[in-house]
Subunit: 281 residues, 2 copies
Amino acid sequence: MVALIKSVAAMKTFSDALRKKGRTIGLVPTMGYLHEGHLSLVKEAKKRNDAVIVSIFVNPAQFGPKEDLKKYPRDLKKDMKLLSKLNISAVFFPSVSEIYPEGFSTYIEVEGLSDKLCGASRPGHFRGVATVVAKLLNIVKPDTAYFGEKDFQQLVILKRMVRDLNMDVKIIPMPIIREIDGLAMSSRNSYLNREERQKAPALNKALEFAKMLASEGVKDAKTIKSAIAKLINTEKGIRIDYVSICDLETLEEKNTVNGNTLIAIAAYIGKTRLIDNTVIK
Amino acid sequence: MVALIKSVAAMKTFSDALRKKGRTIGLVPTMGYLHEGHLSLVKEAKKRNDAVIVSIFVNPAQFGPKEDLKKYPRDLKKDMKLLSKLNISAVFFPSVSEIYPEGFSTYIEVEGLSDKLCGASRPGHFRGVATVVAKLLNIVKPDTAYFGEKDFQQLVILKRMVRDLNMDVKIIPMPIIREIDGLAMSSRNSYLNREERQKAPALNKALEFAKMLASEGVKDAKTIKSAIAKLINTEKGIRIDYVSICDLETLEEKNTVNGNTLIAIAAYIGKTRLIDNTVIK
């Protein structure tokens, strides 16, 4: 059995008690509807810590007014079942009013990094992410917190926030987990119908192709971007939101693929917005 | 002797060591050039804690481009002398690059509260205050932190920030300390020439007059505001920035003085901007 904790006060008490016993704590913040990607974070957290806490909170502050907050998939029962097998200490499952009480008005903005890539298409998204993650870190006070590289920009922003605000936690990035056909695991994959699902690996295929081009000596970012776009556009029903070739830390666009490079894609398949990326060291 | 700590890493180590020994820590964040107001905070912190840390940092992020960052008064030697008498544990005196390293880009905004009163005249000021105080709280991790009621809006904003971000610290407000003639103590009083200094108690006198009016049953905010303005304007060389009669927690302007009311003034005496306030419970 995994403890299910719903109040901030109880979560703080629980976590403080663990810390007083000298236990190290790993936090895995999620929005639930867990897949193998999330579970890989939990497993790594287990390896590195005495206690692991998984938070499940679909964070309204990181959804735009026209985005999928309402229909975002939720299945606490299934999530608890999956987590109960992994021997974690607790699931933190707060309500929206527990996290954003009456009069809530404090937000954290990581400037510069937050308006690029996904931030350009989703204004306010990373402000919501940074704010809720800061809150979770302050409530749980873990030694380490785990995030997947699928949301690469989120990782870069959270690392910067933790450094800038002198927060006492280490952010641990974990590699993307993929389906057999290469599609990056995501709770939003559940939105795809059968036809869309068949098209979805195109993102990963385009990234693999870009990687191959780079390893063959094609270093011009423009050339690689247009190759990616061409490849994705052969699939009807996929609409590219952006293709970015940028620096791993600053997320500034690069003209040349010369190491420390992120290639990131966001695209709509039908109404579903998916993201994927690869790193060229 | 008081330990003088200049690096964030050393401050963290020092503070962590105290905490591991089970000592409670009180933090008094200041911009230095200490006066009796600051010292009253330190004395209260001493009463309530095993260890007291005073930070001295003139925070560039809370000064506007045309404000007095450069000429803000500084006297570390005198400050250390004053503090050495109070038996505190350490002074944290970081450089600007220690607090805002290369690439710093994370800011905390307490919306709504930050654009009123002083925030209207000093855009970005409270963003700078909230950000640096969050950093200091994360570095020192005190049990309590002490702030004077002279900067009443700052107090309201910091309390909200601590609540909203679930920070593990209690903000302790302390009453305004005044000169014999009623002038609220402030490091910026040192800017005043003799003539200006003689006029400066007008702010406090106007507040006392307003309080008297309210206690006599005059509850209309407009009437009280114009009485304050009239009184201050009899002194030539004082220019009112704002007179506010507002709610103690939301800082929303009120039409009626009916308890939980803050009366706050900002005014220029020559080129020096001074603030003062009083609370009507």
